[in-house]
Amino acid sequence: MPPPSSITVGVLALQGGVIEHIALLNRASTSFPTITFHFPEVKTPEQLSLCDALIIPGGESTTMAIVARRLGLFEPLREFVKINNKPVWGTCAGLVMLAEEASATKQGGQELIGGLDVRVLRNKFGTQAQSFVADLQLGFLAEGERPFKGVFIRAPVVEEVINGNGKVKVLGTVKKPGEEEDIVAVRQGNVFGTSFHPELTGDVRVHAWWLGNVVEALSHKGKEKGLVVGRGKLDGEEA
């Protein structure tokens, strides 16, 4: 089926690195000249209902969770990710939000959206002094491509895949000298998460790859159906 002619990819704008993602999405969108893209900031359930796909950016996951709860966004976000199965990508704090479980959270824990059957470990590498940049070999980028510069800032990692049903695919790892290899990119169906920040690099490749996945997912849903779902009306059989 042909891809839809218009796609709305929101960036959750409760706090954090929002405009960095929008800037790279705009650049990545030039790879799809037949599609009109919209990249709005999303702060309300109404704005979310207009989106076909969503990025949850880096920031402080505790802050995002508290603000999302106060704005009544948690249930709409869970429906977006887990019931409507719309494409979602979380970077850093966004990965934490998309995990089913998180460790090293604040006292009393923190609320998560879920969608990835993993447990993330927050601040795996320690404080800002342990933040780093590492060349990553990301198998999903075209073969023979140069490594991707992974920017890790107080980054979480995937500590463990839970509910080992084989649905979670590990797409990237990093190994700091003297440490175990850590999982830093995972995908489960339409849900993608990275520990690192492609939006801080100026390198458009991960955004272009993900946007390609969004286009493909919406094409598979079928143009009509995809757009109906995309405008926030509940899909009869899934709702």
Binding site: G16, G58, T63, I66, V67, A93, K106, Q128, H197, T201
Partner: protein
């Protein structure tokens, strides 16, 4: 090698990408001054993106007088152990060793701050020598770019800390904005020569000034600080173009009890997350309740003003 980051914020190295990147992740958030574990927990639960650990909030530094120095590392360690959000701490202007101690403690940002008594009347710290990133205050564009040239990865207005009077913070962000507009005009009309002339006038590095003119904003994240006391103050600073807000005395000063401080903290987070939403600002203002009493900036003697420290 220079890398152009997505939002136009540029970096000269991977090291700087990581330093400036944390500030980028704090955007749209509130950083709160806290003096103990209880306050740090209140800040985290209210949704602060980071805390600034210091022994006294600025309004009490004013009241107590004497020499204000880096906080006791023991207290900073307790706060680090109590919260999962980034912990920042202040060092005196030019006090290299306080910065070294804070870096070794593993704080996430050092604030080389005019709120403490300056240790060096000639030089700020050469911040490129450190792995820990720095935030510094400014009153105008020249001062901001001098700090960035020294390696600061994050800028805030100086405002007038501990007063609860937002007038100086407003003056400083308006001055920065006006001077950026001036730099853009100089670049457009006179090119490199115009930039060189303005750079001399404001005491800024011409390369950084040109870069700022091209971006139309400071090349690093810029928060409001110094006198922000209410949700409306916080939203005002956001509407004037700040990326986020530091609240010093405004949360805990004159708070009736911890519950009141919690309400104030939550209200300011809400105002910064929804700075254009008038309904949210009404709610936040109601929830905030009575603000700190404050001191009018106009009533301060010159020697009582903290913003004049540093250059």
């Amino acid at each position: 090698m220079a890398t152009n980051l997505a939002n136009g914020i540029s970096s000269i190295s991977d090291d700087f990408t990581v330093k400036a990147g944390l500030a980028q992740m704090l955007k749209g958030g509130v950083i709160m001054d806290v003096t103990n574990v209880e306050q740090a927990r209140i800040a985290e639960e209210a949704g602060a993106v980071a805390v600034m650990a210091l022994e006294r909030i600025p309004s009490d530094i004013r009241k107590v007088g004497g020499v204000a120095r880096m906080s006791n590392p023991e207290m900073i360690k307790e706060i680090q152990a109590a919260v999962t959000i980034p912990v920042m701490a202040k060092a005196r202007i030019g006090h290299i060793v306080e910065c070294q101690i804070l870096e070794a403690l593993g704080v996430d940002y050092v604030d080389e701050s005019e709120v403490l008594t300056p240790a060096d009347d000639q030089y700020h710290v050469q911040k490129t020598d450190f792995k820990v990133p720095f935030v510094c205050g400014c009153r105008n564009l020249g001062e901001a770019l001098r700090r960035i040239k020294e390696g600061a990865a994050f800028i805030r207005t100086k405002g007038e800390a501990g007063t609860g009077d937002v007038v100086e913070a407003v003056k400083h962000i308006r001055t920065v904005n006006a001077e950026i507009a001036q730099a853009k005009a100089a670049l457009a009309s006179e090119g490199e020569l115009g930039i060189a002339k303005l750079a001399r006038e404001i005491g800024a590095d011409p390369v950084l000034l040109k870069h700022t003119a091209e971006l139309g904003r400071l090349p690093v994240v810029n928060f409001a600080a110094g006198g922000v006391a209410t949700p409306a103050d916080a939203a005002l600073m956001m509407q004037l173009g700040c990326d986020g807000v530091f609240v010093g005395s405004g949360i805990f000063k004159d708070a009736l009890d911890p519950e009141h401080a919690t309400k104030r903290a939550r209200a300011i987070v809400k105002a910064v997350a929804n700075w254009t939403d008038k309904r949210a600002l009404i709610e936040a203002s109601i929830e905030h309740g009575t603000a700190m009493k404050g001191i009018s900036n106009a009533g301060l003697k010159e020697e009582e003003k903290l913003a004049g420290r540093g250059w």
